[in-house]
């Protein structure tokens, strides 16, 4: 009977294909969105696994760049039982790097888009080689614009879980002798994104980089592998203050290490109780908040996709209803030959389940192609779309369930036909 059901689909190829398109696109949506969500979770998870201390920010601020705390808070934190080390930091978006500013990149992108449109009108598509690379680079520049992290060098030396010193690949990290100087440690990504104009090779230790109109000596290159961390240029805290006009009395964050890293969460709670204006973020808390945010986002995205799925199911219902209406005589004949109502119900439902299975496989294949195409384009961001076996199975099952549900009503209708009436109706 399953072979018979399969052949029934192949008998009406155009209708089958249209129904498949209707259901496979929502499945592609489900898989695409879950792969994006998984990719983001992996990215943030990788980043946070490297941050093992507690970060103190101003309450309610989303990131260190937006946080401002009084510098004198350092002593009050240090006095809290369980705190072993406290290191102040100043975080600022780099005013400019190699004369590229974040606002300039946005303007350039807009201008580029307009120019592309004009070019497209006047030229054939083949005559714009490298167009994607340039646009891609501009988009990348906006999202990857470097952030300056000014560290109190002496106080950071004692930090055991410091992220950047542990990620050094070339040169050395900041030392007390670098205080107040224009010495920087950059990531490999920043070195690549800002090649030496003379050699067109990535910057290396010993090269200089123009930040806010001043030249800085690159003394070390690190690589954490995280899109979020690898946009940071590390330098002395007073140097950042000088070039970004941050007063001495203000810091962005404090990096705090406790006596026992296993109790960072408890330490964070104590700090928040002692200092009501401060917000403590441990890796697990950030991960939990991020997970909560992602879950909310997932729900929103799934609600959107659910609408598309409903449309897909309606398509299947329509296809199967048309198919069953055309086959009244066939169902009547099958009933006269001894097929039961449940046999007919199974036959028609099997056909729609096959539709669901096929749509799921096509949606999965499209999603795989989508990730293969998109991943190289977003490689520079460190984000990687990923379809887990769990999500692939879930998408496939969802598709089969949707297909089966879509076939239930037409199947029920077909099974309720009186054989004689069905044959007569079909003969008309």
């Amino acid at each position: 009977m399953w072979t018979f059901a399969w052949r029934n689909l192949l008998t009406r190829p155009l209708r089958t294909v249209l129904a498949l398109v209707g259901l496979s696109i929502p499945i592609l949506g489900v898989l695409g969105l879950t792969s994006l969500s998984d990719g983001l979770k992996n990215l943030v998870g990788d980043t946070l696994s490297q941050v093992q201390g507690v970060i103190i920010l101003r309450e309610g601020t989303p990131s260190p760049v937006f946080s401002q705390l009084p510098a004198e808070m350092e002593e009050r934190i240090r006095a809290i039982p369980g705190v072993a080390r406290v290191a102040p930091e100043v975080w600022q978006v780099a005013p400019s790097v190699e004369n590229k500013t974040i606002s300039g990149n946005v303007s350039k992108l807009a201008a580029k888009k307009i120019a592309d449109r004009i070019k497209r009108k006047n030229q054939s598509p083949d005559s714009t080689p490298g167009k994607m690379d340039e646009t891609q680079q501009l988009v990348s520049n906006i999202f990857d614009h470097p952030v300056l992290a000014g560290q109190d060098i002496r106080k950071h030396i004692g930090i055991k879980s410091a992220v950047f010193p542990r990620a050094m690949k070339e040169g050395r990290f900041l030392e007390p002798g670098d205080e107040g100087s224009n010495k920087i440690v950059i990531s490999r990504k920043i070195a690549r994104d800002n090649p030496n104009p003379e050699t067109n090779q990535p910057r290396k230790v010993g090269d200089q980089l123009d930040i806010a109109g001043e030249l800085f000596d690159i003394i070390g290159i690190y690589e954490t592998g995280s899109m979020i961390l690898d946009v940071v240029i590390v330098m002395d805290i007073d140097t950042v203050r000088r070039i970004t006009n941050v007063p001495k009395e203000t810091v962005s964050t404090f990096y705090v290490e406790g006596d026992d890293p296993a109790h960072n969460d408890e330490l964070g709670e104590v700090i928040e109780q002692t200092l009501p204006t401060a917000d403590s973020r441990g890796a697990s808390e950030i991960m939990s908040n991020f997970g909560h945010l992602m879950n909310q986002l997932d729900k929103f995205l799934l609600a959107t996709v659910a609408l598309a799925l409903v449309v897909g199911v309606v398509g299947i219902v329509n296809t199967m209803l048309m198919s069953t209406t055309e086959r009244f005589a066939e169902f009547g004949v099958l009933r006269t030959l001894g097929w039961s109502r449940s046999n007919l119900l199974t036959l028609v439902t099997a056909e729609s389940a096959y539709l669901g299975l096929l749509a799921g496989l096509i949606g999965f294949a499209l999603a795989l192609v989508f990730t293969v195409i998109v991943n190289p384009l977003i490689d520079s961001t460190g984000l990687s779309l990923f379809i887990s076996p769990f999500n692939a199975t879930r998408g496939l099952l969802l598709s089969i369930i949707m297909g089966t549900l879509g076939g239930l009503y037409p199947a029920w209708k077909a099974s309720r036909l009186v054989p004689m009436a069905a044959i007569r109706l079909g003969a008309r």
Partner: protein
């Protein structure tokens, strides 16, 4: 043996109550061929389908091979049709996306087709001259060939009763003759009872039972042999 006792069948057609059968009584002995004849709308097909348990009489009783069709459950009626009845239709009603041999075996599909059943279907198709058409689809067969496949579909289960509704209605007279020859030969070999609804009396033999029906009533016997009949009228 078929026993039809005072069978009435009514149904609604819109606002109108249609009395398709009005107290029909008849008997057909096992292994005989019976022809139901009469004008269009007289109730011929209704009587045929009631014998096949495709519908239930409004009142009265129909017994086939000792089974009372009027008291059967839905499941029992399915089993009865699957195991004891062979249907042949005017429009052949083969399934287009199945081959000839698969069409013959379609009754068995829900429960699985065994190699023995497949061998029997092949043998039957070969017997009716379609040995080289086993894997052909209906649209690759002529009308006569399609009806021969339909006959095989009806007889592959060795039914006690074969019900045929105008089996040559869409065939030319020569092909119709051939179909009746095949149908009668296979029926005789299997000792199945044959009940045929027809307008065409050319195919009725002298020793056949003829049930002449008009306005839902059995008028009496007619056809080529009035003397040999197995019906009783109330």
């Amino acid at each position: 043996m078929i026993i039809v006792e005072n069978v009435h069948k009514s149904f609604r057609n819109g606002q109108r109550e249609v009395h398709a059968l009005r107290g029909v009584n008849c008997e057909v002995r096992q292994g005989r061929a019976a022809f139901i004849v009469g004008p269009s709308g007289s109730g011929k097909s209704t009587l045929l389908y009631l014998m096949g348990a495709l519908d239930r009489p409004t009142s009265g009783r129909i017994v086939v091979d000792g089974l009372d069709l009027t008291t059967m459950s839905e499941v029992e009626a399915n089993t009865y049709r699957r195991e004891k009845i062979g249907f042949i239709f005017q429009s052949f009603n083969l399934i287009n996306n199945l081959t000839a041999v698969e069409n013959v075996l379609v009754s068995f599909m829900p429960r699985g087709v065994t190699p023995q059943l497949r061998a029997r279907a092949t043998e039957l198709l070969t017997d009716v001259g379609l040995g080289d058409r086993l894997e052909h689809r209906p649209n690759q067969l002529s009308g006569g060939e399609q009806q021969r496949v339909a006959i095989c579909r009806a007889l592959v289960k060795d039914p006690v009763l074969v019900l045929a509704d105008e089996p040559t209605g869409e065939l030319d007279s020569r092909t119709g003759d051939e179909i009746y020859r095949v149908l009668r030969r296979l029926q005789a070999e299997r000792q199945a009872t044959l009940v045929v609804v027809t307008h065409d009396r050319r195919f009725i033999n002298a020793d056949d039972v003829v049930l002449e029906i008009q306005d839902g009533r059995l008028l009496g016997t007619s056809g080529k042999s009035r003397a040999q009949h197995d019906f009783a009228q109330a």
